[in-house]
C-alpha cells in the first residue's frame, strides 16, 4: 500500500512539475451596488430594523416614554406600542406599518433601483430571460420589483434602451434570494450608450462620440490606443453627451472607445465598446444595430432562440448558409465552439 502511495505521490509531483502555471494580472472595473435583505434579521445600511433586530433602538431612543418597539415588514420602526411619558399609546409606525407584535414579511421579492437614462426603457433579465421592464423617470431614476421567486442563486441582468433604440451593456450580478424576505439591490448605475459618427476617420480630423446617460453626470471616455487615453465631458440636462475627439493624437490603425458615468458619488461601469479606424479617409458610420454580434436570426435580440440555433450547430460541420452567418455574427472561424457562445453571452439582450 505504501509503495502504491509513494508511486502515486511521485506521479502527481511529476505532473505538477510539467504543468507549469501561468500568471495573469488582469483586473476589472465594476460598479458598486448595494444589496440588503429585509427579513434576514440583520439591520443593513438602508434599514431601521430587521424583524427582531432593532439595531439597539427602543421606544425611549425614539422619543417615547416606554412601551415595545417593533419592526414592520418594510424594515422600518413600528412605534404603535410605544407609550408617551403620560402613559398613552404612541404615534404608530414610523415607516407606515401597524399592528403590535413583530411581523415577519411573507412575500419573497427583489427590488432593483438606480439610474438609467431619462424616460428610457429598463429591462431586467432573470437567469438570462426577460423578467420585467419599466420606464425610468425624467431624472433617469428607476425602481422595479420581481416576485414569485424561490430560495436560491439568481443571475440578474439589467440594461437600458435609450431614446434612439441603443442598448447599454448588460449589467449583471448574482443575488441569493431568501424565502420570505425582500432583497433590495440599489445603487445600480447603467452604463452610458455610445456611438460614433464615423467608422473610419482621416488622421487629424474629428470624430464625434456621443450617447445617453443620467442627466448632468460626468462622462469619462476611454480610448484604447497604444497608451490608453481618457477624456471627460458632462452630459446635459436631458442626459445627452457629445465629445469631439481630434484624432491627431492617435496613431493610424484600429481603435475603440468606451464610456462610463459618475454622479453624486455613484459610478457606472464602462459600457459597450465602439470601434473606429484612424486612416486616410472619412467613412460615415452605419446606424448601430442592436445586438449585431450573436444575433444569428437577425431579430435584433440575442436570446434563447439564437442560443438554440448556435447550439444546434455545436461541434457539427456547418452548412454553407450557416457558415456565412457564423462569419458575420460569431467569431468567423468556420466552426461553432465555446468562443462563439462567449460572444453571444457578451451581447445577450434576453
Amino acid at each position: 500500500m505504501s509503495r502504491v502511495l509513494a508511486r502515486f505521490s511521485a506521479l502527481i509531483f511529476a505532473v505538477w512539475l510539467v504543468v507549469f502555471p501561468v500568471v495573469t494580472s488582469a483586473s476589472t472595473i465594476s460598479a458598486r451596488i448595494r444589496i440588503s435583505v429585509c427579513g434576514n434579521t440583520i439591520t443593513e445600511w438602508d434599514e431601521e430594523c430587521d424583524v427582531t433586530d432593532l439595531n439597539g433602538q427602543s421606544c425611549q431612543s425614539q422619543g417615547f416614554g416606554g412601551g415595545t418597539l417593533s419592526c414592520d415588514p418594510s424594515c422600518s420602526f413600528d412605534t404603535s406600542l410605544c407609550t408617551t411619558s403620560s402613559g398613552s399609546v404612541g404615534g404608530g409606525a414610523t415607516g407606515g406599518g401597524g399592528g403590535g407584535a413583530t411581523t415577519v414579511p411573507v412575500v419573497t421579492q427583489v427590488t432593483f433601483s438606480g439610474r438609467a437614462y431619462p424616460l428610457s426603457k429598463v429591462v431586467v433579465l432573470k437567469d438570462g430571460q426577460v423578467a420585467v421592464s419599466t420606464i425610468a423617470g425624467p431624472d433617469a431614476r428607476f425602481e422595479v420589483s420581481l416576485t414569485g421567486l424561490a430560495t436560491g442563486n439568481y443571475a440578474f441582468g439589467i440594461y437600458g434602451e435609450d431614446a434612439t433604440g441603443l442598448h447599454s451593456a448588460l449589467f449583471s450580478f448574482p443575488v441569493y434570494i431568501t424565502n420570505g424576505a425582500t432583497t433590495r439591490v440599489s445603487g445600480i448605475f447603467i452604463a452610458p450608450t455610445i456611438s460614433a459618427d464615423k467608422s473610419e476617420v482621416k488622421r487629424g480630423d474629428n470624430i464625434a462620440i456621443f450617447g445617453r446617460t443620467a442627466p448632468n453626470s460626468e462622462v469619462t471616455l476611454a480610448v484604447n490606443s497604444e497608451n490608453e487615453l481618457f477624456y471627460s465631458v458632462n452630459a446635459d440636462a436631458t442626459g445627452a453627451y457629445l465629445y469631439t475627439l481630434n484624432t491627431a493624437v492617435l496613431e493610424a490603425g484600429s481603435h475603440s472607445t468606451q464610456a462610463k458615468s459618475a454622479l453624486e458619488e455613484e459610478a457606472s461601469p464602462f459600457g459597450k465598446t465602439v470601434g473606429f479606424v484612424v486612416g486616410t479617409k472619412n467613412v460615415t458610420a452605419l446606424p448601430d444595430v442592436v445586438g449585431v454580434k450573436g444575433d444569428v436570426n437577425g431579430d435584433g435580440k440575442v436570446n434563447l432562440v439564437d442560443f438554440s440555433i448556435v447550439a444546434y450547430w455545436y461541434q457539427r460541420e456547418l452548412s454553407a448558409e450557416f457558415r456565412v452567418v457564423e462569419k458575420e455574427q460569431l467569431n468567423g472561424d468556420g466552426k461553432v465552439n465555446l468562443v462563439d457562445f462567449s460572444i453571444m453571452a457578451y451581447h445577450w439582450s434576453g
Partner: protein
C-alpha cells in the same frame, strides 16, 4: 503506515496548495465537505468556479476521476451558476463533460456549477480533476482566461459498519422557475420549419426533464430546440418543466394562427359542399353510363 499515508497526503495537498497560491488564474475545481470517504457509502463532490476576479461568461471542462474507484449515482445541477448549458453534465466512464454560458458575465470566488453523488468502490487515494478546462472572459471576443488546475485529492478508507450515506441535499419545495417558451423558425435549422425553444431553472433539485404537448395531444418528453409536429402552428403548445423531485411548472404558448369557430365551421361547410358536389357528379356519371348501356 498510517503516518506515511498522512505525510503523503499532506505533501500532495501542500504541493497543490502552493501551486494554486503561487498563481493568479481562474479555475474549476472539485471539493467535498466530507473526509475521508468510506467504501460503500455515498458522498457528494461539488464542482465550483473560481474566476479569480476576472469577469467570465463561458466555461467548459471534463471532470475526471478513477472509474474503477467510484460509481456515479447522480448529478445535481440545480442552483448552478451556469445559466444555459451547452452540454449538461452527464456521467461517462470516469469522466463528466460539461459546458455552459453565463450571459452578462460572472465574477466569484466559489461559484457552484454542479455536484456529483459518488459511491467509492475501493480504498486508496484518488483524485478528481477538471481537465480540458476553458474559462472565457466576458470581453466580447471569447478570450481565454488563464486556467489553473486544482485537483481534489481524496482518501478513501475501508468500509465501516454503520457508516451511512452523506448526500446532503437541499429541500425542494418549489416548482421550477416561471419561463416563456418561444416558437420560431430559421432557415439554418430544421430546414426552416417551426421549432420551439424553452429553458428554465430549478433552484433546489434541478431540472429533470421537459415535456411538450401540442393542441389536445399527450405530453411527450422533449428537449429544446423541439421541432413542432404541427407546422401550421394553429394550436396552443404547453411545455412542462419537471424537477428531480417531481414538481412541475407548465408554460403555454397560445397559437397566433389558431382557427376561430367561424373558420372551423366554414372549413366543415366547405368539405360538406365538396362532398355533395363530388357525389352528385359521380351519380350523374353512373346514371349516364347506365342509360348508354
Amino acid at each position: 503506515m498510517q503516518l506515511f499515508k498522512k505525510i503523503s497526503l499532506t505533501l500532495l495537498a501542500t504541493m497543490f496548495l502552493m501551486r494554486a497560491g503561487a498563481v493568479s488564474a481562474a479555475s474549476i475545481f472539485a471539493e467535498t465537505e466530507t473526509a475521508p470517504f468510506h467504501v460503500g457509502s455515498s458522498y457528494v463532490v461539488d464542482v465550483f468556479l473560481d474566476t479569480e476576479n476576472e469577469d467570465v461568461n463561458a466555461v467548459e471542462g471534463t471532470l475526471v476521476f478513477p472509474a474503477e474507484s467510484f460509481d456515479v449515482e447522480a448529478i445535481r445541477d440545480g442552483n448552478s451558476t451556469v445559466t444555459f448549458w451547452i452540454q449538461r453534465p452527464q456521467a461517462g466512464t470516469g469522466k463528466i463533460a460539461f459546458s455552459g454560458i453565463i450571459p452578462g458575465g460572472h465574477v466569484g470566488e466559489k461559484s457552484f456549477l454542479f455536484s456529483v453523488v459518488v459511491r467509492p468502490l475501493r480504498a486508496g487515494v484518488a483524485f478528481f480533476q477538471v481537465q480540458e478546462e476553458q474559462i472565457l472572459l466576458h470581453d466580447g471576443k471569447g478570450t481565454q482566461a488563464s486556467a489553473n488546475a486544482r485537483p481534489l485529492i481524496l482518501e478513501v478508507a475501508e468500509q465501516v459498519v454503520g457508516e451511512g450515506d452523506v448526500t446532503y441535499e437541499k429541500a425542494d419545495l418549489d416548482a421550477p422557475e416561471t419561463f416563456v417558451p418561444v416558437v420560431s423558425r430559421d432557415p439554418n435549422m430544421f430546414e426552416g420549419k417551426y421549432f420551439l425553444v424553452f429553458a428554465t431553472q430549478d433552484k433546489a433539485s434541478g431540472i429533470d426533464h421537459y415535456e411538450v404537448r401540442e393542441g389536445g395531444g399527450a405530453y411527450v418528453t422533449a428537449e429544446s430546440p423541439y421541432l413542432l409536429q404541427n407546422q401550421n402552428v394553429n394550436e396552443d403548445i404547453s411545455v412542462k418543466a419537471v424537477d428531480k423531485k417531481g414538481h412541475a411548472r407548465v408554460a403555454t404558448v397560445f397559437a397566433a394562427k389558431k382557427q376561430s369557430s367561424y373558420q372551423k365551421y366554414a372549413t366543415l361547410a366547405m368539405m360538406v359542399l365538396i362532398g355533395f358536389l363530388l357525389g352528385r357528379t359521380l351519380s350523374r356519371v353512373l346514371s349516364r353510363r347506365k342509360q348508354g348501356s
